[in-house]
């Protein structure tokens, strides 16, 4: 992993900012988002580092990260963020960059577990397909 001027100036970062409506430069890396994230232990890039990577244009790393698919959009982080950055929106934008690519879907009806098939509420299924497929 290396920071270069080209990466920092990457147009992808601007795209993320456009889709999310958030300014990644606003983050000052206090880590309050990460400390409070209920699913952080399953993430490979912590929420505050998502912002840091985006600030430095390390988009490739972000687009390969598990974190994008772990975030539950519970919005605990942005409700506490002292810089008013809506981190789930940034993660959503990164997710959309991938989902909008051809074959980008992450969840297929065939892959649902038996339990989910049998018992899951519609709310959960609709949410999951909104998040993991286009």
């Amino acid at each position: 992993m290396k920071v270069t001027a080209d990466k920092v100036n990457s147009s992808l970062v601007k795209e993320v900012e456009e889709i999310s409506g958030q300014k990644v430069s606003a983050c000052f890396q206090c880590g309050k988002c990460t400390g409070g994230c209920p699913v952080v232990s399953s993430m490979d890039i912590f929420p505050h580092l998502v912002l840091r990577f985006a600030q430095l244009g390390l988009l490739e790393e972000l687009l390969h990260s598990k974190t994008l698919w772990i975030c539950a959009s519970c919005q605990t982080c942005d409700s506490r963020c002292p810089r008013d950055v809506d981190i789930p929106k940034v993660i959503e934008a990164l997710r959309l960059l991938l989902l909008r690519r051809k074959g980008g879907n992450r969840l297929h009806p065939a892959n649902l577990s038996d339990r989910v098939r049998a018992d899951a509420p519609q709310q959960g299924l609709v949410s999951a397909f909104r998040k993991y497929a286009k």
């Binding site: 456009e18 889709i19 999310s20 409506g21 209920p38 699913v39 232990s41 399953s42 698919w69 772990i70 539950a72 959009s73 519970c74 919005q75 605990t76 942005d78 409700s79 809506d86 789930p88 929106k89 959503e92 934008a93 959309l96 992450r106 969840l107 649902l112 577990s113 339990r115 989910v116 018992d119 899951a120 509420p121 519609q122 709310q123 959960g124 299924l125 609709v126 949410s127 999951a128 909104r130 998040k131 993991y132």
Partner: protein, 275 residues
């Protein structure tokens, strides 16, 4: 009082006891819930991206119908629907560009006139917990209940403006009105894993485990929720956890309306989900 009422998909199927008990209790309290005609799924999630307006159309259409019905207030039960409607409504009243574009797609003209309330808010603001306490004849005395708020009722902080995000009390006040004893535990607003249970069950199971442990430590004998997905996660992984540990890890999970129906003595016999 008459309200427009939006049930949402889950309440017509997996969570139909949520709806049944809610409507029964509303009737007992003199609240008339008029279902929005021809409603569609709200989309379950409020869109987090700014470059698509399509997901707003279904909720706006329901809001516009509530406006047409002249009730002024749209009531929801499911926390997911509530989150979507409250935020959609806010956007439609505040963001001129979104309003113009969305209205461009629709027959109706809607500018955020309808007030979106969760049934809990109706109980607090319109009925009043003091008066609810009087009406609750069959007191739930001695029942130690852990209120589980989850995320969707409360967050984002500014947009939902439902209760104190970190330290909400509406559930506790509600439970006290019914004579139950709310227990305090720090996980009442921690996420249950939400839709992750559809794709990555382990993550959700871990989140649920912490919530149940904390609630049990505080002496709770059951959990109340306002969200079918929370209930599914808490029940499913609670059961699994009990099986895996060979001990007692789970807690019964009820919709708040089921307790309300019991306290108002309007029949809560069908505890649990109808499958």
């Amino acid at each position: 009082m008459r309200y427009s009422y939006y049930p949402g998909c889950t309440l017509k199927t997996k969570a139909n006891n949520f709806e049944k008990t809610a409507l029964r209790t509303a009737g007992a309290l003199g609240l008339e819930m008029v279902e929005v005609p021809e409603w569609q799924c709200c989309g379950a999630l409020y869109p987090l991206n700014t470059d698509e307006l399509f997901p707003l159309l279904a909720p706006v259409r329901a809001l516009a119908q509530a406006k047409e019905a002249g009730h002024g207030t749209l009531v929801t039960l499911c926390a997911g629907c509530y989150n979507v409607f409250k935020r959609t409504n806010r956007e439609m009243s505040r963001n001129g560009e979104v309003r113009r574009k969305v209205n461009g797609y629709l027959q109706e003209e809607y500018t955020g006139e309808v007030n979106v309330l969760h049934y809990l808010e109706v109980l607090k603001k319109e009925v009043g917990f003091a008066s609810l306490a009087e009406k609750a004849q069959k007191k739930l005395t001695g029942r130690k209940v852990a209120p589980y708020y989850g995320c969707l009722l409360l967050k984002p902080r500014d947009e939902m403006d439902f209760d104190d995000v970190e330290n909400p009390t509406i559930f506790e006040d509600f439970l006290r009105a019914l004579g139950a004893e709310p227990v305090d535990y720090p996980y009442k607003t921690e996420c249950c894993g939400s839709y992750l249970s559809m794709a990555d069950e382990e993550v959700a199971a871990t989140a649920v485990g912490r919530i149940l442990l904390s609630a049990r430590k505080s002496g709770a004998e059951l959990l109340v929720v306002a969200c079918p997905l929370c209930r599914y996660n808490l029940e499913e992984y609670g059961r699994e956890l009990t099986e895996r540990t060979g001990g007692e890890a789970s807690l019964p999970v009820l919709y708040f309306t089921e307790l309300l129906a019991e306290a108002l003595a309007v029949g809560s016999e069908t505890y649990g989900e109808e499958k």
